[in-house]
Symmetry: C2
Subunit: 421 residues, 2 copies
C-alpha cells in the first residue's frame, strides 16, 4: 500500500468503528450477552477451520520463532475450548454499563446522576497469541465498545478466522459486525496511522513487551492505558513472622517468575538476625535463584553476586533471579522503593503496626500489601471479573483493571424547566 492508501485504510477502519459504536452502545445487556454466547458456540463449531488457519501461521513461522513463541502461537482443541469458555465467562459477568455511580437532588430541584457508559472505540494492539483476538473483542463488546484489533503478523491467519467467526456470530444476532474489526494489513504503518485517529478512537490498549508499549506511547495522540513493567518489592521488617516471610518471599519470586507481579527486589531489615535472613533465603537458594546485591548486602549475606551499579536495582529479571538489599528499617525501605519501583506492587512483611502503617501511607504503588504475596496483584484475585490488563498509569485506571475500565460515565440531569441564574 502507498502512504495515502494506508491513511485511507486506517481512517476507514476508525470511522466504521465510530459508526458501529453509536449502534452498539445502546444495546441491552441481554442482547450483548446473547451475542457473546453465539460467539462461543461458533468457536466450538469451527474447530477444524481454526486449526487449519493456525497451521498456516505455524508453517510460516516455525523457522524463525523460538519454541516458547511458537507454543504461544499454537492452537489446539483444548485452547479453542478455553477461548469459548472465556467468552461465556465474560457473558456471565455483571453488566458494567448503566450503573448509577452517584445520584442526588440539586438545590434547584434538578435530579442529577452519573451513569456508566461505554468509552466508544478501543484500539487493541497485541502480539502473537491468537486467543487475545477473542479475548479483546469479547471484553470490548461486553462493555458496549467498538474495537479495532491488531495482532502480531505471525498470527494473522489465525486472527483473521477468529475475527471472522466473531463478526458472523454477532451479525447473526442483528448486531453491526463492524463492532469488531481486525487490521488485516500487516504493514506497521497502519498502526502508526491508526494511532492518529483521535477523532474516532477513544482509547488504545497495547498488550505485549515493553518495547511495543513504549513505541505505542511515543506515537499515539489517543490516550493509552498500559503497564510498562513491574519492579515489585517485598520488604521484610525486623518485626516479621519469619515463617510467614519465608513463605511470602518464596511465593512472590518463584510461583511464576515471568509475570509482572513477581518480586524483583527483596529488601531485608538490617536488624533481622543472620539466622532469620538465612531462613528467609533458604527456599530461594534451594531453587537456585540467583541473587544480586550491593557491597553492604554481599558482605552480610553469602552467595550474593555484585549488582554493579546501584541503578541495576531498576532491573526486571522475569526469571529465577532477584536483587537483594539490606536496608535500615521501614523508612529506608520506602526510600528505596520510591527511587527504584515501577509503582506496580509492593509488600511489607511485619507485625509492628507502626511499620505497616508507615509502609501503607508512604508507598505510592498501584497495590500496597501487608503480609501477603505480590503475586496476588491480579484482576481475578481482586474479584474484578474479566481482566482487561494491569495499569501502572495513574490516570483513569490503576492496577488490575476489570471491564469497568473500558467505561466512562455521563451526567444525566432531569429538570422541569431549570435555567442558570
Amino acid at each position: 500500500m502507498t502512504f495515502d492508501e494506508i491513511q485511507t485504510y486506517a481512517e476507514t477502519l476508525a470511522k466504521k468503528a465510530r459508526v458501529a459504536s453509536a449502534k452498539i452502545r445502546t444495546l441491552s445487556a441481554d442482547v450483548r450477552n446473547h451475542a457473546l454466547q453465539q460467539v462461543a458456540k461458533a468457536l466450538r463449531a469451527s474447530e477444524a477451520e481454526i486449526l487449519q488457519a493456525n497451521s498456516l501461521d505455524i508453517e510460516n513461522n516455525k523457522a524463525t520463532l523460538s519454541a516458547a513463541k511458537l507454543d504461544r502461537l499454537t492452537l489446539n482443541h483444548d485452547r479453542i475450548l478455553a477461548m469459548a469458555k472465556g467468552v461465556e465467562e465474560i457473558a456471565s459477568f455483571p453488566d458494567p454499563l448503566n450503573r448509577v455511580l452517584e445520584s442526588r437532588k440539586l438545590e434547584n430541584g434538578v435530579a442529577i446522576s452519573r451513569v456508566s457508559v461505554p468509552l466508544g472505540c478501543v484500539f487493541f494492539i497485541y502480539e502473537s497469541r491468537p486467543n487475545v483476538t477473542i479475548d479483546g473483542a469479547a471484553l470490548c463488546f461486553k462493555s458496549g465498545n467498538a474495537v479495532v484489533l491488531r495482532g502480531g503478523k505471525e498470527s494473522i491467519h489465525s486472527s483473521k478466522i477468529l475475527a471472522k467467526i466473531f463478526r458472523s456470530a454477532i451479525a447473526s444476532c442483528g448486531v453491526d459486525a463492524d463492532a469488531v474489526q481486525l487490521v488485516e494489513e500487516t504493514d506497521h504503518a497502519v498502526v502508526t496511522a491508526l494511532l492518529k485517529q483521535r477523532d474516532y478512537l477513544d482509547l488504545v490498549i497495547p498488550r505485549g513487551g515493553e518495547n511495543l508499549i513504549r513505541a505505542v506511547v511515543e506515537q499515539s495522540s489517543i490516550p493509552v492505558i498500559k503497564h510498562f513493567n513491574g519492579i515489585c518489592h517485598v520488604y521484610v521488617d525486623k518485626s516479621a513472622d519469619i515463617a510467614m516471610a519465608t513463605k511470602i518471599v518464596e511465593n512472590a519470586k518463584t510461583q511464576r517468575c515471568g509475570t509482572c507481579n513477581t518480586m524483583e527486589t527483596l529488601l531485608l531489615d538490617k536488624n533481622l538476625s543472620d539466622e532469620s535472613i538465612e531462613k528467609i533465603l533458604a527456599p530461594l537458594r534451594q531453587k537456585n535463584v540467583e541473587m544480586f546485591g550491593d557491597k553492604e548486602t554481599a558482605l552480610r549475606i553469602s552467595g550474593i553476586q555484585d549488582i554493579g551499579d546501584a541503578s541495576n536495582y531498576h532491573h526486571e529479571y522475569l526469571a529465577l533471579k532477584c536483587s537483594v538489599k539490606i536496608v535500615d528499617g521501614v523508612q529506608a525501605a520506602c526510600e528505596h522503593i520510591e527511587k527504584y519501583s515501577s509503582r506496580h506492587t509492593e509488600a511489607i512483611v511485619a507485625n509492628d503496626p507502626q511499620a505497616q502503617t508507615y509502609f501503607l501511607n508512604n508507598v505510592d504503588s498501584s497495590s500496597v500489601m501487608v503480609n501477603a504475596s505480590t503475586r496476588l496483584a491480579d484482576g481475578g484475585v481482586y474479584g474484578l471479573g474479566a481482566e482487561v490488563g494491569i495499569s501502572t498509569d495513574k490516570i483513569h485506571a490503576r492496577g488490575p483493571m476489570g471491564v469497568e475500565s473500558l467505561c466512562t460515565y455521563k451526567w444525566i440531569l432531569l429538570g422541569d424547566g431549570q435555567i442558570r441564574t
Copy 2:
C-alpha cells in the same frame, strides 16, 4: 537559554516536583488546609506588592493587548480579595484524599480496599489571568499534588509574586516550597521540554483557547485532560411545554454566550407549529441573536441566514449567534448531534417520556439534560466544590471536574500470610 539549558531547566523543575510530591502526599488534611489558610492571609497582607508587580505587566502589554485581555490581566483590591476567598473556600471543602472507594474481604481472607490518593505531579498551563496561578496551585495542593505552573508571558511579573507568596506561606508551615513551582523562563521551548518529562509529571491540564490546548495535546507524552470546545445543542420536541422551551432556549443562548456550555445549535422538531416556533425564537430575536440555518430551515422560518456548507453546524460562535435546524423528531435530532456535537452538553425539552428516554440513551455527551438549560453544566452547579475544569475527554474524568479528578487510587491489601496458589 540554549537548547541544552532548556532541557536541564525543565528536567530540574520536574524532578523537584517529584521530590516534593513524595513529601506532601502524606500530609494530613489539617496540615494542607491550614497551609492554604496561611496562603489566603498572605495574599491579603501583600496587596501593595501584588499591585506593583501587576502594574508592570499592564505597562508592558497595554500597547498590544485588546481591552478585554488587558482587563483579564488586571488585578485590583477586589480581585485580590476574591483570590484569597477562593483559597479559603478550597481549604473548607471536604478532603479528596484517603476516601475508601470500595472495600471487601476476598475468599482467601485478605481485606482489600481501594483508597483515593494524589496523582503526584501536575503540570498546569494557562494564559494571562494571574488569578489562575493561585487557583491552580490551591487545587493541586488541596489534593496533595505537586504542581508546575506555567502562565502566559504577559502576566509573568504578577505570577512570580503570587507564586512567591504561595511558596513562602506553605514553607512557613514546614511544607516543601517546591510543592508549587512557577516556570519563570517564558521561552515556549520550556513548555515543550516539560511536556516530555513523563517520568516525573503525571498529568497536564491546559486551560485556555483551543489553539493552546491542541498544541499541548500534539506535543505531550504525558496524559492531558482538556476540553477543546462546546458545540452544545438544545432540541425542542413537539411534546415540549412551549413556555418552558422558550425560557430554556433563551437562557442557554444568552445568559452568558461566551462560555463553553452555551447553546450553539437549536434543533426544532418539524412537527412544532409555526406559532410555537415563533414563541420560542421571540427572545432571541428581541436580543438580536443572529441565526444561521440550512435551506429547509430558512424556508420554514423567517430571518434565518444561509449557513452555507452543512459542516458549519460544527461552528462554536461564543457570541449572540446560533445555528438552527428543523429536524424530523427526536431520532433525527440525535443523529444530528452524533454528527456535529463536541460531546459536551445537550438538552431536550419534551414532555413525552419516550422522546426523553430515547434522547438520554442515544446522546453520547458528558452531560445530557431533560427540560433544563445547558448553562447548568458546571462544577459549582453540580455540587462538586472547587472546579478544576470541564473535560470533553472520556478517559479519567468527563464533564465538570472537582478536585477528585486530581486524584487516583491505590489498592490496599491486608493479609496474614496469603500467597498465590
